[in-house]
């Protein structure tokens, strides 16, 4: 049994027929080739698959694609078109060495985007709490916290979010 899905992904209207059991994470990766969204644990622990649903950070592995019907989904691909056009959040991670292998990074960026819009100059402990639902096994988190502070400064400077 397939169901009609009509969803806006990164500003683009998408119409598809999907099996109801198809997870949003798999829909993004396998049907739309938006492989920036990573799948780590597939049970809501690691945070690598975090995307925005109507502007709020959610685990895409804990949503069925069909549940996004009529909603807006934003993935990490929406942040920039390439190296020449990095989002200040990405620039912050670049400059402060906020990633090593990069597997967790898309989920962390998408978690931080609404967080920094709401809280443009967070403290260290607020940052740590904000990313508490995202696992990184490389960096020890310190550089990520530094990167968020760099990004927050940049986002404040050029008013872009």
């Amino acid at each position: 049994m397939r169901a009609d899905l009509s969803v806006t992904i990164n500003g683009q209207p998408i119409e598809r027929q999907v099996e109801p059991r198809l997870l949003l994470s798999d829909f993004l990766r396998h049907e739309l080739q938006l492989t920036g969204t990573h799948v780590g644990c597939e049970h809501g622990v690691c945070g690598a698959c975090t995307v925005l649903l109507d502007g709020q950070a959610v685990r895409s592995c804990l949503l069925f694609a069909i549940q996004a019907n009529g909603h807006e989904v934003t993935t990490v691909e929406a942040l920039s078109d390439g190296l020449e056009d990095l989002h200040p959040l990405q620039e912050g991670f670049w400059e402060a060495h906020g990633l090593q292998c990069g597997f967790c990074t898309p989920g962390i960026l998408m978690t931080l985007l609404p967080f920094l819009e709401e809280n443009p100059s967070p403290t260290d402990s607020e940052i740590r709490e904000a990313i508490s639902g995202n696992l990184c096994r490389c960096t020890g988190y310190q550089h990520i916290v530094d990167a968020v502070k760099v990004a927050a400064r940049k986002m404040g400077e050029n008013g872009r979010s």
Partner: protein, 297 residues
């Protein structure tokens, strides 16, 4: 790691949802926020043949103040909304305080109040708070409506007083006990993870400064929210001295909780945590009750 196939329904009214629930009976599972059900489906620990997605039911997404000063919270209200709702902060500071402990922000953006109650994980915060506050649960089916005390609703591990065809629609929290002090604390390996143990304390003082009413509730130290009634009764009518707190903590930790060891904590460690958390929460609740503060402090 992919869910088994199921028939999907997303009813757009409670009435339609109840009809579907009645028609499919035990084959159907309700999908609320999905933050516990979908992981279980991904692991194929749960394989419902029919999934009733309640996320279209905006009629169950509300926080209302009752005339008596209590709260009525729709079952599909997101945890994130409860965390930020000014009426909840004002009328029920214990609930407001506990929200940041409920998993991580991404989970609270989807997770619902009703979903957490029906899932009835003994390590979850919301069931403990519901029992501590003597909440009542409104349950609907095509047959009609009934109301269940939180204490009766939670029957055991992942088990609640809900028959096939029934849907939890509302959590009603009675008015805050006048002048009550409160505290919630837990010990987790990482903020937002499941706690090794947690405790909620609620108490009121009479004009002589003696404890009038006490509630002590624990999470992850039994198969459901553990209500330490004996320890609470020990405090009632007494001055809440350090000795009284230590005695209550000893009773709760040795006689009333029933922890099950896992890889993260032995039974002995959980009893230790329960003792420490009892003392910490009672002291904080006492200070707040003594200040007569509400919503802050």
């Amino acid at each position: 790691m992919k869910p088994a196939p199921f028939a999907y329904h997303a009813p757009d009214s409670l009435e339609a949802a109840l009809e579907l629930a009645a028609r499919h009976g035990p084959d159907a599972r309700c999908l609320a926020g999905g933050q516990s059900l979908v992981p279980a489906m991904n692991f194929r620990l749960v394989e419902p043949t029919v999934l009733l997605d309640l996320n279209q039911l905006s009629e169950l997404d509300y926080v209302k103040e009752t005339r008596q000063g209590g709260l009525r919270i729709g079952a599909m209200t997101r945890q994130r909304r409860v965390e930020r709702d000014p009426a909840i902060a004002r009328l029920c500071p214990l609930l407001a305080d506990v929200m940041p402990y409920v998993a991580h922000p991404q989970i609270r953006n989807r997770g619902t109040v009703g979903g957490s109650m029906v899932h009835a994980d003994p390590a979850a915060e919301l069931p403990v708070i519901a029992v501590a506050l003597n909440a009542r649960f409104r349950v609907r089916s095509v047959e009609g409506e009934r109301s269940v005390d939180a204490d009766d609703f939670f029957q055991g591990l992942f088990t609640v007083d809900l028959e096939p065809g029934e849907v939890l629609v509302e959590v009603e929290i009675p008015p805050w006990p006048a002048g009550a002090g409160w505290s919630f604390q837990e010990v987790a390996r990482r903020h937002g993870d499941y706690a090794l143990a947690g405790a909620a304390a609620l108490l009121t003082l009479d004009e002589d400064g003696r404890c009038q009413m006490a509630r002590l509730l624990y999470l992850n130290v039994g198969d459901r929210p553990v209500d330490a009634r004996k320890a609470a009764r020990q405090l009632e009518g007494e001055r809440v001295t350090d000795q009284a707190i230590a005695a209550a903590a000893q009773t709760a930790a040795t006689e009333e909780i029933d922890p099950v060891a896992d890889v993260h904590a032995s039974v002995g460690y959980q009893r230790h945590l329960a003792r420490i958390l009892t003392a910490r929460t009672l002291r904080q609740a006492l200070a707040r009750a003594a200040n007569g503060s509400r919503g802050e402090g």
